[in-house]
């Protein structure tokens, strides 16, 4: 218990430590206290925003996966020749932002069994995060060749291709991914946004909102799509959302200034989102200002971000 408590002192949002502490308290008979710890761990997980729904399932996972890594360490002690433990451990590393450790595990799985398209896709994703786009495209292509209808691998390859500057090829993959994802509105919307195909995105965003009416990003992206399609902004129906990305909605509504939004963007991802939206708002007034924002975005932030891909496609449409 003291070790869990110490971990929590260092990182109060450490859900796995909270759950471990809950388990220890439960065994000792402190049932109510244990229940509180379990509930707190679940609350953290419920409040963690997942990765974009068009991405590989591992990249949609967020949070701490230290317990998973340790659990699969134990399995590998006993089962060195099976692939699942390496894949699962690799996934835990990838989801917790350690692509190099993930890559080592995927490579080990592929040494044990060469013909694993699903692992080739994972390896490609890890390489892509590491910025090794050329190898990533190669690995993801192995997965796509083996399973041409693998929407996740296509989306991963599109991003890696974008990393290599191959916008046309990336859009080809996204178009195919969009077809394969039909019926999954949120995922389709993200793909259409990456292509900056606003007309394609808008109905998917409407459907995504029907299913998840409280998701602030669907509101934000819908607002963005309507602006880019020169439709009325529809600001009246916006929910009141505090924090992020509520600030971006407030920016659209003219309630906060560009300087203020940049101040509130306290992470890299938020900064990219803010710059992108500043470009959207500037576009009608001064196209060059918008393009300057988007140019900054593509130079500073990774191609895995929706806004990066969108900006690239918007910039590619510049009149010559």
């Amino acid at each position: 218990m003291p070790l869990y408590q110490r971990a929590l002192d260092l990182e109060p949002m450490f859900d796995e430590a909270l759950e471990g502490l809950g388990q220890a308290l439960d065994v000792l008979g402190y049932i109510e206290l244990a229940a509180e710890k379990y509930a707190a761990a679940r609350r953290i997980r419920a409040e963690t925003r997942l990765g974009a729904p068009d991405r590989h399932f591992v990249l949609r996972q967020r949070g701490h996966f230290r317990a998973e890594v340790l659990a699969y360490d134990n399995v590998i002690w006993s089962l060195k020749k099976n692939t699942l433990p390496y894949i699962a451990r690799g996934n835990a590393f990838l989801a917790s932002g350690q692509p190099d450790a993930a890559l080592a595990n995927y490579n080990q799985a592929l040494r044990l069994k060469r013909d694993l398209p699903a692992v080739a896709a994972l390896k490609g994703e890890a390489l892509s995060i590491l910025g090794r786009y050329s190898e990533a495209v190669e690995s993801l292509s192995v997965a796509v060749e083996a399973r041409p209808n693998d929407a996740e691998a296509l989306g991963g390859r599109a991003i890696a291709r974008l990393g290599l500057g191959l916008l046309g090829e990336a859009n080809t993959d996204w178009r195919r991914q969009f077809e394969l994802l039909q019926g999954r509105a949120a995922a389709c919307a993200c793909v259409a946004l990456r292509m900056a195909d606003w007309a394609l995105a808008l109905p998917e965003l409407d459907r995504a909102l029907e299913k998840e009416p409280h998701d602030p990003y669907w509101h934000l992206y819908r607002l963005t799509a309507r602006r880019r399609l020169e439709m009325p902004a529809d600001l009246a129906d916006l929910p009141s959302i505090g924090g992020w990305p509520g600030a971006l909605l407030a920016l659209h509504a003219g309630r906060i200034t560009p300087d203020e939004i940049l101040k509130r963007a306290d992470t890299d991802d938020r900064h990219a989102e803010a710059i992108f939206q500043l470009g959207v708002l500037a576009f009608d007034r001064d196209r060059k200002v918008a393009e300057a924002y988007w140019q900054e975005l593509v130079e500073r932030f990774p191609p895995s971000l929706i806004e990066h891909a969108t900006a690239r496609n918007e910039l590619a449409r510049r009149p010559s």
Binding site: Q23, D26, Y38, V75, A88
Partner: protein, 525 residues
């Protein structure tokens, strides 16, 4: 809020199955509180002439259990394409996927468990629906605690689930029942298949259970491996609910042969799983295009249909009893009490699909009219097929379809052959030594000829796509001169004379005698 998915069949899977299952159904229903909650039981491959398993134990279920229970009946004919690939008679992956496909789309959660589990919310007064309602997305399991056979068998009252759960809470402490057995990841706990809760949406995304797992065992571990990959972790609900398993090790179940047990390959289906998805079954899992019958215990029950059928066909008796006689000297007397016999005939057909087409080959017009009324009132939508070779039978009822035997035989799913005297009326006293008239004999010869022909050519006249033999029901074929004929051709049990009915499938006797019999049947000798 959640759909519970369980499966089984009307057989004897392990010790005192009926009690275990009743305790479990009632206990699970007891902890449901959302109007959308449901228990989906897939009754897999129970023989057509048996009721489903929950129907067989319905009197031991609480009203609440009957209200939430939806039974999906998978017929032997629907399983037959898999028969050569497995030694098992009930398939877990197929069953669970069939239920998942047909589960209530308003429910966010699917809970996989088995019909010998009791789930006890740790906080008294809290339901499983409330627990699931507050739960963030994820894949959840709990450890399984064992309940000694003596306790559940001797102390539980099947129809008192609340009392049973109270007893469990007491025993858990008093008898040290709660032992968590941890297991390797991704399983997390031993016997994980008794509580696996996943989002319905996730289960559709990963294409359900792996339907290549046809040899039994490890379906739960495969699911855990795939959902652990998909979700990134295996969560626990140990702080919310305890699960108790009614131990049944006195008698080994049929799929448990100790070290000789056949099972699915653990490396392939657990330790070398590389993806949560099963693209090869993406469009076929859960048999989306197959019509699966749904049966309820709270409405339109078999008993209600049976009563409706017989009430439409006959009036109550006006005397305390009627008599018959099986003395050998009455062997040739083919009179029988139709009203007494009709319930036994209806009993033979009631469990068949409502779309069944039955061929009725009979001597007595009154049997045809009574049976047809009952057939229709029991809710059957298929036709009663009457060969035009049988003269003097009613044709007016909308369910009746007439035609040449050769045209109808390929449409029939089931056969009834009746060997009575066309001239007998219902008011006659039976078995007093009455002889057949020439017209009776003529009718009987037609019935006998068509019977032998139908039994002999049954394999090659099955409706298109049908692979299993069709069932033959003989009316008035016990202890009379048509008994040898019927049992020469049909594999039938010895039944009491009083029931008047025998039934079975055609005998496939490869001996010379069998071949001669079938040859004679074909040519009408």
């Amino acid at each position: 809020m959640f759909s519970v998915i369980v499966y089984g069949r009307n057989d004897s899977h392990g010790y005192n199955l009926h009690k275990r299952a009743a305790i479990s159904f009632n206990a699970i229903a007891e902890v449901m509180s959302d109007p959308d909650d449901e228990i989906l039981f897939v009754d897999y491959n129970t023989p057509d002439d048996h009721p489903t398993f929950p129907e067989a134990i319905q009197d031991t279920l609480t009203d609440k259990a009957k209200q939430v229970l939806r039974i999906f009946r998978v017929r032997p004919e629907q399983h037959v394409h898999l028969k050569s690939k497995t030694h098992l008679v009930a398939l877990e992956s197929q069953s669970r996927n069939i239920a998942l496909r047909r589960s209530n789309p308003r429910n966010r959660w699917i809970l996989y468990t088995n019909t010998d589990m009791l789930l006890v919310p740790r906080r008294e007064g809290e339901s499983l629906s409330m627990i699931f309602g507050d739960l963030p997305d994820g894949f959840y399991q709990i450890p399984r605690f064992e309940l000694p056979e003596m306790l559940w068998e001797a102390a539980f009252d099947r129809r008192d689930p609340a009392g049973n759960l109270t007893k469990l809470r007491d025993w858990a402490v008093r008898f040290h029942l709660n032992q968590v057995v941890h297991n390797f990841m991704p399983m997390k706990y031993d016997a994980l298949g008794d509580f696996q809760a996943a989002l319905r949406e996730d289960m559709f995304t990963i294409h359900g259970f792996d339907e290549d797992m046809l040899l039994g065992w490890h379906c739960d571990s495969n699911l855990a491996a795939r959902l652990a990959l998909y979700r990134g972790r295996v969560d626990t609900l140990i702080d919310k609910v305890f699960g108790y398993h009614c131990d049944h090790t006195r008698v080994a179940a049929v799929n448990n042969k100790g070290r000789l047990t056949k099972m699915n390959d653990q490396d392939r289906f657990i330790w070398d799983v590389s993806s949560p998805y099963l693209p090869s079954q993406a469009d076929t899992w859960g048999w989306p295009d197959v019509q699966i019958e749904e049966i309820r215990l709270d409405r339109d029950t078999s008993y209600e249909r049976f009563v409706a059928g017989l009430s439409a066909a006959m009036e109550p008796a006006t005397e305390p009893y009627r008599s018959t006689n099986l003395d050998w000297h009455l062997y040739s007397d083919l009179t029988y009490d139709l009203h007494h016999t009709l319930p036994f005939v209806c009993d033979q057909v009631l469990t068949y699909p409502r779309s069944t087409a039955v061929m009725l080959v009979a001597s007595r017009a009154e049997l045809v009219s009574s049976f047809t009324k009952a057939w229709s009132a029991m809710g059957f939508t298929g036709s009663v097929l009457i060969p035009s070779e049988c003269k003097g039978l009613p044709e007016a009822h909308p369910s009746i379809k007439t035609g040449a035997f050769s045209d109808l035989v390929g449409m029939a799913d089931l056969f009834i052959f009746e060997f009575g005297l066309a001239s007998q009326t219902q008011r006659e006293t039976v078995r007093l030594g009455r002889s057949a008239s020439p017209s009776d004999t003529k009718s009987l010869n037609t019935v006998a000829r068509l019977f032998a022909l139908a039994a002999s050519i049954e394999p090659e006249t099955r409706p298109k796509g049908r692979r299993l033999p069709r069932r033959f029901i003989g009316v008035n074929v016990i202890y009379n001169k048509f008994w040898p004929l019927f049992t020469d051709h049909i594999v039938a049990n010895i039944n009491p004379f009083c029931s008047q009915v025998l039934a079975g499938i055609p005998r496939r006797d490869a001996s010379l005698k069998g071949k001669v019999l079938r040859f004679r049947g074909r040519i009408g000798v």
